[in-house]
Amino acid sequence: MIPALIVFLYLAIVFYIGIFAFRHFADREQVEGYFLASRSLGTFVFLFSLFGTNMTAFAILGSSGHAFANGIVTYGLMPSAAGLVIPLTLFLIGTRLWALGKKYGFITPVQMFRDRWECGHIGTVIFAVQAAMLVPYIIIGVMGGGTTLQVISGGWVPYWLGGAVVALVVMGYVFFGGMRGTAWVNTFQTVLFLSFGVIAIIVIGVGMGGFRSTVESMLSNPALAPLLTRERISPLYFFSYTFIPLSAIAFPHICIFCLTARRMIQFRKTVVFYPLCIMLIWLPCVFLGVAANRATDIPEIQSKLEARRTLATQGAKLAVEQREELREKMRGDDVLLLLLKRHAPLWLAGILGAGIMAAVMASDSQILALSTMFTEDVFAYYGGKQRFGEAAQVHTGRLFVVLLTVGAYLVALEAPENIFELAIQYAFSGYAALSPLLVAALFWKKSTKWGALASTLWVAVSVAAVAVFQAVVPPAPPGQQTVVWELGGADVLARTPSGTAVFGFMPVVPMTLVSTLLMVVVSLATRKPNEATLSRYFH
């Protein structure tokens, strides 16, 4: 009860921040004011908000859950690679986007693509593919909110109410505050999470009797010791993960956020501190996720461990449905919350729960981005702004925020969560494979709209193909893979226990490489934009 009340207090504060942003700025009815905070964010807000935008429910709860099942490799797979690749893409691509946005007034990446490649409807195709891959994030954010409130309150707040409260709060501050409100809320949330992540690790560590004894006892257990190494992960799979962070800069909400900085120097501290912020948040989450394997005094964790044991020892003999059931039981997305509930005092669990809620609510940026894209790339582009004016465009954006959030909530009530988690899994690969579009548009004179179209269609088709493949071919038993296509002794296509392997790599590698190849080959075979256009992008 007390933790839930603290979380409600926190939700009230973030809602107020959105209202405050609405009241105190005169530019709230202007397009750039509402959607881009008038390109005025300073260094501190820009860094923490950009970082907070990337820290989704998937990143925080998913990271400890992934570490619970897979061990320390989680850190090497995700934050470690992201700590290099994301700041690098912000440095190279983000700054250039910012400069062009400032110079030519772009608000969305599709506007830039349309201008750069002299295209219209191809931009609409890119918008459609981007939007389709963004929607699952919004739904999963609402689901995460419902689940978190339910766990923190010990079931006192039901899932449907938790989801509704989170959806209303997010909708409220995005509706009123636009980009400025969203950026301030994200900053507040990031500071909260950074501060309390350290407290969480200390409190849980003490509660578990110290990490030294926890780790030593794991090392002496043959079933748990591999979690402290990477021996169960193939080097090719590990390498594949370095492609995933390319998705960050291709996400529309990150692209759009790059345009909000007041000056280009705002990127400097952001790119330097980004890897350190990632480390401060992910290292405790991953370590606690691994350590949770020794928290056998928590009944829920004990039953997850038993399900894992059954799957490992009898998995090959079980039916696909039984394996799925066991996988569902052993999922560790709530282990961080369970550890907090067990070891933190009530008031601290509430504050820490608010910190986790902060990460869960990162879907705000995605809602705003989708609204921005719809109003700019569709409504304004097809004449809405010209006919109805700028204020109508902002009102349309706000209406879109309401419809999108209500729709996401209704879907979250009915649909099974794992469908959207799978969609997110594909979407990361899809956005990574869209990153060649940005690189080509910004750095390669010879790129053309037809190259962009070929890459975009390839991404849409390959994401759908992987989804269908994984739906049709059941996951392989633990430690095995089902080879579907073999050529000359090499495993071309295989179904693994948790995904798909192409020549041993995750699908993101061939998807990104083929996308790049298509961009190059098709661009070289087609006519590039005229010199007047190119001269505005390249000196």
Partner: protein
Amino acid sequence: MKKAVLVLAVLVLYALHQDFWFWRSARPLVFGFLPVGLFYHACYSVAAALLMYALVRCAWPRHPGAEVESSRRGGPPVDQPH
């Protein structure tokens, strides 16, 4: 020359992510509890921050338009179909 060194540094750090040398061992436990593979990647994050600092100091990009602060120059209307 400076640019080449920085590009090389980025490539080397990218390659160092694939640390096969700590693949199968948890020991030594750094600070008594942190498996060496995890400690290595925490250090990798710090190295990434240092590399970004070097890039910011020595290779800050000069993009066309970066000098524009508040007023926009020419360019096409961006919300009209071509």
